[in-house]
Symmetry: C2
Subunit: 391 residues, 2 copies
């Protein structure tokens, strides 16, 4: 099977994070991604730490396999090249502040008139509509406004940021969905569409229990540390060598947990006999379980719990997660080659496994700024003469 | 324009969260979603708190607009109905433990042989391959193993769970991408595909700086509370009435921030003159800024910062987020109607805005368990006789 997006050309004006992660995913589905960068400095993340031999590991992990051409969209010569790129493109992606593309003469109205089949994917802090459409935002601003920080952190403590930049990344994931839906629709309608993703919208959309609790009870939940707000025991516990998770989602699992801990009678203790009772006595139960688990290392408890069918797992550092045998078996940690083919960086694998879609053993290099100019121009010329020659 | 997935039929065997959020998104793109539930109890989340008039607000917010039919896939009569549903389906979704569908005789091998155009989307804790493919997992288990908890929490403190269930939700979002990519490919190949999403894989894929830092430096990052690990000032600050965020991504923004705070000279202080210097003196800078910001409410500071082009925003509770004018203007908070058409619950809107895709003013009700049996059977019969009558 060929890749789902084989033959699809993506012109990628995006920078930093929300847009580039979307472009990576389209590339993983087989699209050709041509990254159009600002001459001189290119994508800001080329200057983001950490560095390895002068190159950004951050940039490498988020831009592997893309082509780069530097174009100044305010210069006539470069605009002519950009117009030719648009003539061959299926998709254009951008994450400028709303209005920027219109200012350049490349707003959706102009582009859809000139290129009716073009799919235009935009991601911005607050979207292209609404009273605050024009405002700038960073990941943390939408994590804060969207409510997720208010439910993340220690119980009774101050709000905490989600360690991964889900303000950007969730938005990028929705952008991919929108582009794919629009490409599918284009096959029927013959026309492209504009996708307008707001990072703030995405934060609302990825919340479930906090939305249900807030709207049904009128009281928004606060942070609950490392435990689930309404299921007990469902949290981290300390073993002698670190933290692990016990996730006892119902009474039967709780009974098996008690057996695994060598305390089968605990399951019949009225203080813990139902989830409601366990939630009421959550702190007592935690102390009682930790009094046991602190005596042995995590491997001991995880083996005992798994033998009893209790969902469990270590709290892993990123180093441990990237060395996890299950993660490696799924091809989720891949070397990114340097331009000379040497493995130089590391990137995540493609999380969307589809039958027949090849799983590469390595990622192609992230592009040097403007490093593919000649190749892109040659490709353009070939595509244009193919079309001209076509009967 | 019709909706992108108009005419697409999704048979949805999923329950709880990772699968149902994927099905909601496909419904938002126009697909017809028929939820096949276990007779008697149905989806576990029908019993999840909070409740309103005996119905789960959680279930309502994640299953609106789906049809429900209860089928026992171990009974011959119900299997016959299920087979007829498959005959009309474009997509089947399931989030059982790996092997369950094979045990029922509905594994991918059987289904693709019988229904070569069927797209089969599966989401599970660890995926359908690898040494731990068969193990159960809950959201928190993959948040823990995937590393995100290790970078979430107070500096030097214990790991903290991300308040939203991103272990489930990120996986569901990738499942949507896979289904859309497979539908697009089917238009060319004539064949469906299987999508195999692992919740643990998804946790690796949504991390960026922690992966880059870990692999480039060898040292995994820890939690940093409510501040960005490598940009300063980029964190929460206290005003007189609560927390807000200041996100000064570069020197120019920092200078404007100093102006907004009435301390323009601070930008030239050698302790704060570069991002590197500010990172070194992050705690001192935070105290100096908070000494100022504590004197006035958030609205004062947000107005001052926005007037100077400094990205900022309140840390909002979920109640505040759901009343945010920008969120409301984007149609992101919608009533879910009860079966009698009365607004009864609340759900998030569709975060993927596509030109021409209608934005409904309300969500249709979540289905009563087996409430659409007659309608589904009538629809099946009509579809089957249409085909039989076709020339």
């Amino acid at each position: 099977m060929s890749a789902p997006l084989d033959g699809i050309v993506v012109i990628d004006l995006t920078h930093v994070l929300a847009g580039p992660v979307a472009a990576i995913q389209l590339a993983d589905f087989g699209a050709t991604v041509i990254k159009v960068e600002r001459p001189g400095t290119g994508d800001d993340t080329r200057a983001f730490p950490p560095f390895k031999e002068g190159e950004s590991a951050y940039f490498a992990a988020l831009n592997h396999g893309k082509k780069s051409i530097a174009l100044d969209l305010k210069s006539a010569g470069d605009r002519a090249v950009f117009d030719r790129l648009l003539g061959q493109a299926d998709v254009i992606l951008e994450n400028f502040r709303p209005g920027t593309m219109e200012g350049l003469g490349y707003g959706w109205a102009e582009l859809s008139a000139r290129f009716p089949r073009l799919v235009y994917g935009a991601v911005s802090g607050f979207g292209h509509t609404g009273p605050e459409a024009g405002k700038p935002a960073y990941d943390m601003v939408v994590q804060a406004r969207g409510g997720v920080m208010s439910i993340t952190g220690e119980e009774g403590g101050p709000p905490v940021r989600v360690g991964a930049s889900i303000g950007d990344i969730a938005a990028g994931m929705y952008l991919v969905q929108g582009v794919l839906a629009a490409l599918y629709a284009r096959d029927r309608s013959g026309r492209g569409a504009k996708i307008d993703i707001s990072m703030l919208d995405a934060q609302i959309a990825i919340q479930e229990h906090s939305l249900a609790i807030t709207t049904a009870t009128g009281t928004p939940p606060g942070p609950t540390g490392a435990r689930h707000p309404t299921i007990t025991p469902f949290s981290t516990f300390r073993a002698s060598d670190g933290f692990f998770v016990i996730a006892a989602g119902n009474d039967a699992i709780f009974a098996r947990l008690c057996t695994a801990l060598g305390q089968p009678d605990l399951a019949n203790d009225p203080r813990f006999a139902s989830n409601a009772a366990r939630c009421e006595n959550v702190h007592l139960l935690k102390r009682m379980i930790e009094a046991l688990t602190l005596a042995e290392p995590r491997a001991h408890w995880i083996a005992a719990l798994e033998a009893n069918g209790v969902p469990t797992g270590r709290v892993q550092t990123m180093a441990e997660a990237l060395a996890d045998p299950q993660v490696l078996a799924r091809n989720m940690v891949l070397p990114v080659e340097a331009t000379d083919g040497r493995p130089a960086f590391v990137a995540a694998g493609n999380p969307v496994k589809i039958t027949g879609l090849a799983e590469p053993a390595a990622r192609q290099p992230a592009p040097v700024l403007d490093g593919d100019r000649e190749a892109v121009l040659r490709w353009l010329q070939a595509r244009e003469s193919d079309r001209a020659d076509a009967p």
